[in-house]
Symmetry: C2
Subunit: 330 residues, 2 copies
DNA sequence: TTGAAAGCGCTAACAG
DNA sequence: CTGTTAGCGCTTTCAA
């Protein structure tokens, strides 16, 4: 831990016998200089190991070259995928990513987002925050892109069509001969409603509808915990759609522990198509919500906004049904 | 997107009829002023909605109040957990987290880490980067804490005892009556070696040893892909230890597709105890490597270093065997 | 208890 | 082609 003060642009300028302005323009590639001068600067820079201080640069340019990303829980593969996508695009464009995990609790979120907002050029934020915070963020004067379902004037969102996703799932289940349906939802999430609606509309075709249950968190533990309540009711459902794959996996596991066969006794499905869905036993039917793509697109749109294009329309991604054995024909 | 320039400390000072120095000291709580002056400043600050510009502050204090975290893949629950733990501690201490996902490829990692390094007060970095990059990082003059196995003079690491972890797994398997062992490793990882060694030593007790196979990435896909090669060999193993739970889950799935019963025909185990390990079918035996704790401790130690305590010893966390049905008695 | 002034390291006119 | 100068918004001596 030797202090070793980094050299400044002034050190370089002095050592190369030029002005700081020259050095600045040189390292930013904004202007060419005589071969001699350029060579001298190059050498000195290497010798001194000089590198720009991004903070000082930001101060004057007003650009931090970093963006904030606020998610509810990195542990949820849906969010991890968003981080993944956003990270890749950010790196490609030489932007840094300031990540904050809100831990599924809107407790300090305004404070955290506020602190973040001052350090970045723009923000990508989960739509699962209070509407007042959404509005407040929109007022902060920095571009914000939300991911997830959100209907609000003047805010831009990137999302995957949850209505269609659930609708497809509903019709799929119906086509497999299922008759009695349940939906295990997560009301805190903005898109819970559209998923439920899509499902109900899908089932309406065959004159059916789903009974609704709720979990408190989108986790396998919660799926496991609610399972018996769903399956031990009278007139047991023979098809259960869960808010996401994590809930579905927990649910399916517990159903099997309860002695039920999946898919024979009950079909189980989720949303997201997390990597492990394929490797469940039986493999889990789900809908690919394109989480990573959401991250990519959100970042692209944000960077676009920072570059001056600020189109106001939302981006709607198409979901893709991934039918696997957990909803096999009855 | 109204520009709406944020007000500066100068605006506040002017409006309150005091000097910027006074405002600065006031908002930083470094000094008390007459009730009258304080009241005026307070009012003005609220009216103007003034908030400090952290960049300007960093420029002069030399502290960014943010730390960098470099991981190989957020999608891997092991790393997601590290982010989780680090995030929590960072927030508690009012630090920001700059995350970079290296995407399992050491291609641009020095460049990325270099860019990161200038923007943060310290770094937490995966040990799975080239040793030369480790050394180079250590020279950068900023505190760095590594997580994962790494033996290098003068660098601090936080890790979980991989030798013990694998050793426990080996002895567990042996105690369950297993006889023929295989280890599916991931050589790129620094702790692959110690896990292998621990396993072999554990098996040596009963005079056995494990045949070694390698995957190219620590993913379920790779576990799936290598499965047949491992299980269709002569003298088929009756116990397979995989580099991590993801590989194990992929492997187990494929083993079952191949018609083998887990654990009757073959026991499967992994490392990390990812959340879904419990919900696999059968539930996966694994070793809890305390990923989240690693993130917590790494961040605590880094923040400690920034506060002046820079102890040189590594932190070694204890693994915990989590025996589940995938290695049930034969 | 308060303020004036000197920068932190860098870029951006504007001159030459 | 190259240099001078004036800040970005803030903290921090040092005086008053």
């Amino acid at each position: 831990m030797q202090p070793k003060k980094p050299s400044t642009i002034r050190d370089v300028a002095a050592a190369a016998g030029v002005s700081t302005a020259t050095v600045s323009k040189f390292i930013n590639g904004q202007q060419r200089f005589s071969a001699e001068v350029e060579a001298r600067m190059k050498t000195v820079i290497e010798q001194l190991g000089y590198r720009q201080n991004p903070l000082a640069r930001s101060m004057v340019t007003g650009q931090t070259k970093s963006v904030g990303l606020a998610i509810m829980d990195v542990r949820n593969p849906h969010f991890a995928n968003i981080v993944k996508g956003a990270n890749r695009v950010a790196i490609e464009h030489d932007y840094n990513l300031l990540v904050v995990d809100l831990e599924e609790s809107p407790k300090r979120e305004q404070e955290l987002l506020g602190a973040l907002s001052r350090r970045v050029d723009g923000l990508i934020v989960s739509s699962r925050i209070p509407l007042e915070t959404v509005d407040w963020l929109a007022q902060q004067g920095k571009p914000v892109v939300f991911f997830g379902a959100i209907q609000r004037q003047g805010v831009v969102a990137v999302r995957t069509d949850g209505y269609r996703a659930a609708n497809m799932l509903g019709r799929h289940l119906a086509s497999q001969g299922r008759k009695r349906f349940a939906y295990v939802g997560f009301p805190q999430a903005r898109w819970n409603t559209e998923r439920l609606q899509g499902l109900q509309d899908g089932l309406a075709q065959i004159g059916a509808s789903a009974r609704v249950f709720d979990v408190n968190l989108p986790t396998p533990e919660e799926g496991e915990a609610i399972c018996s309540r769903v399956l031990l009711a009278d007139d047991r459902p023979d098809a259960v759609v869960c808010y996401n794959d994590l809930v579905a996996l927990g649910f399916m596991h517990e159903a099997q522990s309860l002695g039920l066969k999946v898919p024979d006794d009950v079909a189980v499905a989720g949303f997201d198509d997390i990597p492990l869905a394929r490797y469940a036993n039986p493999p889990l039917t789900t809908v690919d919500m394109q989480s990573e793509r959401q991250g990519v697109v959100a970042m692209e749109r944000l960077l676009g906004a920072l570059a001056g294009n600020w189109p106001d329309a939302d981006t709607l991604l198409e979901p893709r049904l991934v039918a696997r054995q957990s909803t096999g024909r009855q």
